[in-house]
Point group: C2
Chain length 496, copies 2
């Protein structure tokens, strides 16, 4: 699991990993190298510079371009860090070609820069000898200078709290979820998809080749970060196996720590080599790490979000006994299979519950067992009472309601004016009326109206703190993972 290359040992004058990350997440001064006025490119320093300026949290920020000049706004473009009239630069963001990086690092040393983040790619991950040598020299000099490195080959920091980001379209509201990711693109995807489910982040870090600061440093930092309640991760290789395991265990003992591990297959491992030059390690080794650390192992990027939704909004759930309520008998059958395959329970409802339900749901076209297959409409008088009866069954820990917009008898309904608002209000009433926690499953259909409806339900419910998922399977797998973590760490349900 440990990489072939020697681990990086920063000089005594360098910041500790924790202090370096605290600086990178909340720098007072930032210099971005490679700010170009040329046509937009995703790897133009302009992107990082505009974001630092746009957030307006970082006190002092500077733009570098070897040709000098100035931006239309009048902001000067400094040819070199040496020209920047500031001798306390916390963070340098390098968005210049690899061949020019060593010179920039030399300049950074003269300025006493603390953290040097390389968006710049084209090092060890290329598999080319001369690029590997360049990476080794970068590491050697940074160590000699006492500068901590983030990257190379990474998007770096998205910190709504600190005002540093690579995500131009991200919501700027800070949240209490942190993420570390060896892949910037995967982190971007998770953050953007998280927003549509009402999730917000404290700090997100992509660390690419992990030449210096790596997953272990981030895990160590997030374990103690008072602004972070839940930690998500996308990992490929693990740089320092001996450091990682105990730190991951310490984090998982304090906060839900969900990890998506890439490279669990032979072709995946080859792909990891081509991506960040890491060693992904064998699947069985990873399984051992999971057992040892109690981290929550997930299978897809969306499963990271499902776990965060569950830990944030279903922390009060007592146990694994699910009551399913939805429309469509076949759909109910598949939902029941999904709950059972995830390792949750689907207890039959009590006779008393079924007798009470019968007042609202006629036997024809409905099943009063669990799953409750109900043709009753959202806006029917019986909807809330029926849901309340199910939620009050003593054998039920959580009510999973399928808002199956795929299954509306006619797709048109989803687009009717007021439908989305009515449905939202009805679901919120239901949440407040139930004694057991409510989870809402919204399968996204493909009709424009249905897609819009599904998006609005996710966003509105998210804002209201209701757990929503794309499928019963996703909800069940996330709840099982969360309950297992709670049991492994001896936690009780949170008070509601």
């Amino acid at each position: 699991m440990v990489d072939a290359g020697p681990a990086f040992h920063p000089s005594p004058t360098a910041l500790s990993g924790r202090d370096a990350l605290a600086t990178a997440f909340r720098p007072r001064s930032v210099a971005v190298a490679g700010v170009s006025v040329r046509p937009k490119s995703s790897f133009n320093g302009m992107r990082w510079f505009k974001l630092v300026r746009g957030y307006g949290i970082v006190e002092r920020f500077y733009a570098l371009n070897p040709r000098g000049g100035a931006l239309r706004s009048g902001t000067p473009l400094y040819p070199s860090l040496r020209d920047v009239p500031d001798d306390q630069i916390d963070l340098v963001i390098s968005v210049i070609p690899a061949h020019a990086v060593l010179d920039l690092l030399d300049q950074a040393a003269e300025k006493g820069v603390k953290v040097f983040h390389l968006v710049t790619a084209g090092f060890g991950e290329t598999g080319l000898t001369e690029r590997a040598d360049l990476e080794a020299e970068l590491q050697r000099r940074a160590r000699a200078y006492g500068i901590r490195l983030l990257g190379p080959n990474c998007m770096g920091i998205h910190s709504p709290i600190g005002g540093v980001s690579w995500l131009e379209d991200a919501d700027r509201t800070p949240g209490r979820i942190a993420m570390l990711s060896q892949s910037g693109a995967n982190a971007s995807e998770v953050v953007m998809r998280a927003e549509s489910r009402g999730l917000r982040f404290s700090h997100v870090a992509s660390y690419g080749n992990a030449l210096d600061l790596n997953e272990a440093d981030l895990i160590d930092y997030f374990a103690d970060d008072p602004g972070t309640d839940i930690v998500l991760a996308y990992l490929e290789g693990i740089k320092e196996g001996r450091r990682f395991a105990p730190l991951a265990r310490r984090l998982a003992a304090r906060k839900p720590f969900a990890v998506l591990k890439g490279g669990g297959t032979e072709p995946g491992t080859r792909a990891v080599m081509g991506h960040t030059g890491s060693l992904a390690g064998a699947a069985d080794v990873w399984a051992g790490v999971v057992r040892q650390t109690r981290l929550i192992d997930v299978a897809t990027p969306d499963a990271l979000l499902d776990l965060a939704v569950t830990a944030q909004r279903l922390a009060g759930v007592r146990g694994p006994r699910v009551a399913l309520v939805g429309r469509g008998g076949g759909n109910a059958v598949l939902a029941a299979d999904a709950v059972a395959r995830a390792g949750l329970e689907l207890p039959p409802l009590s006779d008393a519950t079924r007798a009470r339900l019968a007042e609202y749901l006629p036997p024809a076209g409905n099943s009063l067992r669990n799953p409750v297959d109900s043709d009753i409409a959202w806006d029917a008088d019986g909807f809330l009472p029926a849901l309340g009866i199910v939620g009050r069954d003593p054998g039920v820990d959580v009510v999973v309601l399928q808002a199956n917009v795929d299954n509306l008898p006619t797709g048109g309904v989803a687009t009717d004016a007021g439908f989305a608002e009515g449905l939202r209000d009805r679901l919120l009433e239901a949440r407040d009326a139930l004694s057991a926690p409510l989870a809402v499953v919204v399968r996204a259909p493909r009709t424009p109206g249905g897609v819009d409806l599904a998006r609005r339900i996710h966003a509105d419910m998210g804002r209201a703190g209701v757990a929503t998922y794309d499928s019963v399977s996703a909800a069940a797998v996330a709840l099982r993972g969360y309950l297992d973590w709670r049991a492994a760490t001896g936690r009780s349900p949170a008070a509601r």
Copy 2:
């Protein structure tokens, strides 16, 4: 696997299952019972009547309502079948309460009706003794009358060819895919989601409690139907195990036959009882049926569509050797894992291929292995040449291109005017330029612009006969299932 109740033995005067289904799929005359002018309900005969009239294929159609009168259009509402001035009624569609069904059946007998379809629910599936007795009496009389039954408790027939449907929003263009489903809601979902991927149907049948006509009859019919190339199924119980297995094997030997089996778990089996009153049977029994019949066992409704897309558009694929091309290193790693986990191969590209690729893709930010992690944009000059080089690698059977709209550096791009058209045209050029078949994976994002783009790619590519999927995993699982079926039935790749 066989239900407790005795199998139905139609009287000698009744049509054979094949003739009954031929009649139900293409009736010349239809009477709908339970056509009401009351406010819209999903179980109002008006829905079926309007559709028969709207398709305009059925020659003669009649509406029944016990109170008589007429529709605004002037169409008479006959109080009884006896009042209908037509003595050759092929199909009766019953959308009336269960208690009134026996009388309607008696009327149908007098009119020499061939097939009696009961949308009407409230029989054995309720678990109530008196309802089970009613179902038994319905079965007894239908047999005595020589009338074949479809249902009860089912949406019935969607046949764009025959002009009978329950799907108000379905496209009316016939296709060459058939579906049988014990659940009308699951069938509705599959048909509507299929449309957005460019798939169209010959005949779809939902058969509910399968009191008479059941999955075996439909499988037998579709095996010989010249208008059907691919058969999809959602099954819960299997009514006649002894008939089913050989007929399923015969169908699978002729056409790809993909089945989603509900009730594979204990809670799922209970849900099946509540839905259609069938016995779902144990998972190991089903596994035996799959091995024995060579049907393609799938796990989700969308997997049925993925299989249809694969069988229809990738029939020329030579084998399991996949080349992955996409953007984002982490994404490439997860895609490689997904391909390997599905049991496909991801061969390293030849040195010659990688040397040619290097002309278009600089090493920084790209991996020239397989997966090819390319930062090259759709509209860049190098895009098509690079894709062509990968597609010409002798070790590659299929090129899977990830149009990862989640991963666009800025979400805004997806909404730029002309972007979708440009992307579509570029993908079609790529398809035509490649020697290996092309599959396009479009992960649907949640931003409105991205969702719209994803939908347009699926629809446009579908119309052009290009295979599209929602994820690399979905594509890989479907291709593996299709290749296994082809091998088991001794088929070669179709000529391209």
